[in-house]
């Protein structure tokens, strides 16, 4: 069996009296789209937060390419090549699109202006942003210099997705990226996910939308009560069975 590119074992995360993760495992194989489904509160977001450095798990281990890693900040995970679109879009409303795309990894000017005066290469970033957005074909944004707060919810979502897709080098994680999107916009994001996978990058996709999940996922991780209940193959399990496992109405096939 191939080593998983990203693996978690026995993750535990407590918030006060609530245990969000009660010993959860996860395996992401190279080049696959792994969907994560589960009821509200099943611990899906908590799981991917632990994988992306957004929270530090109380117990358990995360392995990247087989070697243990410990992310204490989102930056650590990002530096390891893991890009995440969080459920609560992590964008800065007052900054423009280009600034948001490059947030935390700004390009600097060449020469002394950059090295001594630490000047940003604004033009470079705008151009690059323009290029990325075009390449992804996800939307026709007029001007990467537009402030994100002037975008609609769907457009903001697109910026966050574009950022992850553009910079992810090992893993891309998306937490309900289409929840607020219209039909057409959702379609574009699904296409983008497939596109990313086709570039060879594995994707973790959290979604409540079963048709979407069954359309794009290679494998489906079913989360229940803070644990991985099962991993199923969308080609061999029906949508209603997956939902039944998810809600506890049915035991997973073994």
């Amino acid at each position: 069996m191939t080593t998983p590119i990203l693996q978690a074992t026995g993750l535990v995360k407590r918030y006060g009296r609530v245990t969000a993760l009660a010993g959860s495992d996860l395996e992401l194989l190279p080049g696959e789209i792994l969907a994560v489904i589960g009821d509200n509160g099943a611990g899906k977001s908590s799981l991917i937060k632990a994988l992306s450095g957004a929270v530090v798990p109380d117990e358990g281990e995360v392995l990247l390419d087989g070697s243990p890693v410990s992310f204490s900040t989102p930056l650590d995970a990002r530096n390891a090549g893991i890009e995440t679109v969080h459920q609560s879009l992590a964008v800065s409303p007052s900054l423009d699109i280009a600034a948001n795309l490059f947030l935390g990894r700004e390009l600097r000017r060449k020469g002394v202006l950059g090295s001594v005066f630490r000047m940003l290469d604004r033009a470079g970033m705008r151009e690059e942003a323009r290029r990325q957005l075009d390449a992804l074909g996800i939307m026709t944004i007029q001007n990467p210099g537009q402030a994100v707060e002037t975008l609609s919810g769907g457009q903001r979502q697109a910026v966050a997705v574009a950022r992850a897709a553009a910079f992810g080098s090992r893993v891309v994680i998306m937490d309900e990226p289409t929840a607020a999107l219209g039909v057409r916009e959702s379609r574009a994001v699904l296409d983008l996910i497939l596109q990313v996978r086709d570039r060879g990058l594995p994707v973790i996709l959290i979604s409540h939308n079963m048709p979407h999940v069954f359309e794009v996922a290679d494998r489906i991780h079913i989360q229940r009560l803070g644990r991985r209940k099962a991993v199923v193959d969308p080609k061999s399990v029906s949508m209603s069975d997956a939902v039944a496992i998810m809600t506890g109405a049915m035991e997973p096939p073994d």
């Binding site: 992590a90 409303p93 935390g104 000047m119 916009e185």
Partner: protein, 333 residues
């Protein structure tokens, strides 16, 4: 994403609003310009080079504090302790030099260090204890002020006992017959430098982004705690520069000084158009804000208006200037 239906605005007022909106600090600038014109009409003494230079001198201390206050407010914080840090550092600089005979430069640097450490303490309390900045600085305000009283023994230190470097900010040079203090120049340089850094460096961007949405910035991979620490520490350093200007200005170091400067610096920042909610604003605006207050106080004084009405005017000014600014900002790009 549906294309947006645009429409041409018809009303003149809306058009004015749009023009003003294009440039962030133009609101405060308009207020400043208007008040300068009005006061110039009221008194022929107002627009003399000497008087202009005087206003610059009078706003130098609060203006310098406002530079530090601006970066704190940009991160959605607030610093009630800035006056206390300034006074404490001014006393440290002056007393160390006058008592131990330490030369000017090391005394100055020591003061800068103390200011930075005070700011760092604020930053640590904000980031580690996760307390609201208002509460942290309300607390440290008392702590720094007490330290100042303790270290100074409540005694004023006279300029004549200090090395001349500490008084340098109060020295003047003459340009075209107008005397300008080095303290005023220091302020202008500081504003320019900070404006450059905020606009053109990654750090500046991260300051805005952290103030805009802390959690989003953290999730985007910004070390927000580090940004906040650096902001408070830098602010502390800037307050120490203000302390230097203060010493030059009153040619002494008084432990009783600067007690109203906390609110005065916030007033300058707010009139200058920086949002108390963080993420929006500019340091140039704060300089303009400080100048507006200075122009009003000076202009009204020249017009022979009682201090009482000057106080009233500042109050009305705050509300009018911020309302105007908000009205201008209402136009979404």
């Amino acid at each position: 994403m549906t294309a947006v239906v645009e429409q041409r605005d018809r009303s003149l007022l809306t058009r004015v609003q749009h023009v003003l909106h294009a440039q962030a600090t133009i609101g405060p600038a308009v207020v400043l310009l208007t008040s300068v014109i009005v006061f110039a009409l009221l008194s022929e003494r107002f627009l003399t080079p000497g008087n202009i230079s005087l206003i610059l001198q009078q706003v130098a201390v609060v203006g310098t504090l406002a530079v530090g206050q601006t970066i704190v407010i940009l991160t959605a914080g607030i610093d009630l302790s800035c006056g206390a840090i300034m006074v404490l550092t001014s006393i440290v600089m002056a007393k160390v030099a006058s008592e131990t005979g330490l030369p000017g430069l090391p005394a100055l640097l020591l003061g800068f260090l103390v200011g930075t450490v005070c700011g760092l303490l604020n930053g640590m309390l904000v980031t580690r204890l996760k307390l609201p900045p208002f509460i942290v600085t309300l607390g440290t305000l008392n702590v720094f002020f007490a330290l100042n009283l303790w270290y100074s023994g409540s005694a004023t230190i006279r300029g004549s006992d200090m090395p001349s470097l500490l008084l340098w900010t109060g020295q003047t040079f003459t340009v075209g017959g107008t005397r300008i203090t080095y303290g005023s120049i220091l302020l202008v340089v500081l504003v320019a430098a900070m404006a450059f850094v905020l606009k053109n460096t990654a750090w500046g961007r991260h300051v805005y982004s952290t103030g805009d949405d802390l959690e989003a910035s953290r999730l985007s991979g910004i070390r927000t705690a580090r940004v906040l620490l650096s902001v408070y520490a830098t602010a502390g350093l800037i307050y120490a520069v203000a302390a230097w200007t203060l010493i030059g200005r009153i040619a002494s170091a008084s432990p009783q000084a600067g007690q109203t400067d906390n609110l005065d610096s916030i007033t300058a920042v707010v009139i200058g158009g920086t949002s108390l909610f963080g993420g929006r604003g500019a340091v140039v605006g704060s300089l303009i804000g400080a100048l507006i207050v200075g122009v009003f106080r000076n202009g009204l004084a020249l017009a022979g208006v009682d201090v009482l009405w000057q106080t009233m005017a500042v109050g009305v000014l705050i509300i009018v200037a911020v309302s105007l600014d908000q009205w201008i900002r209402k136009v979404k790009a």
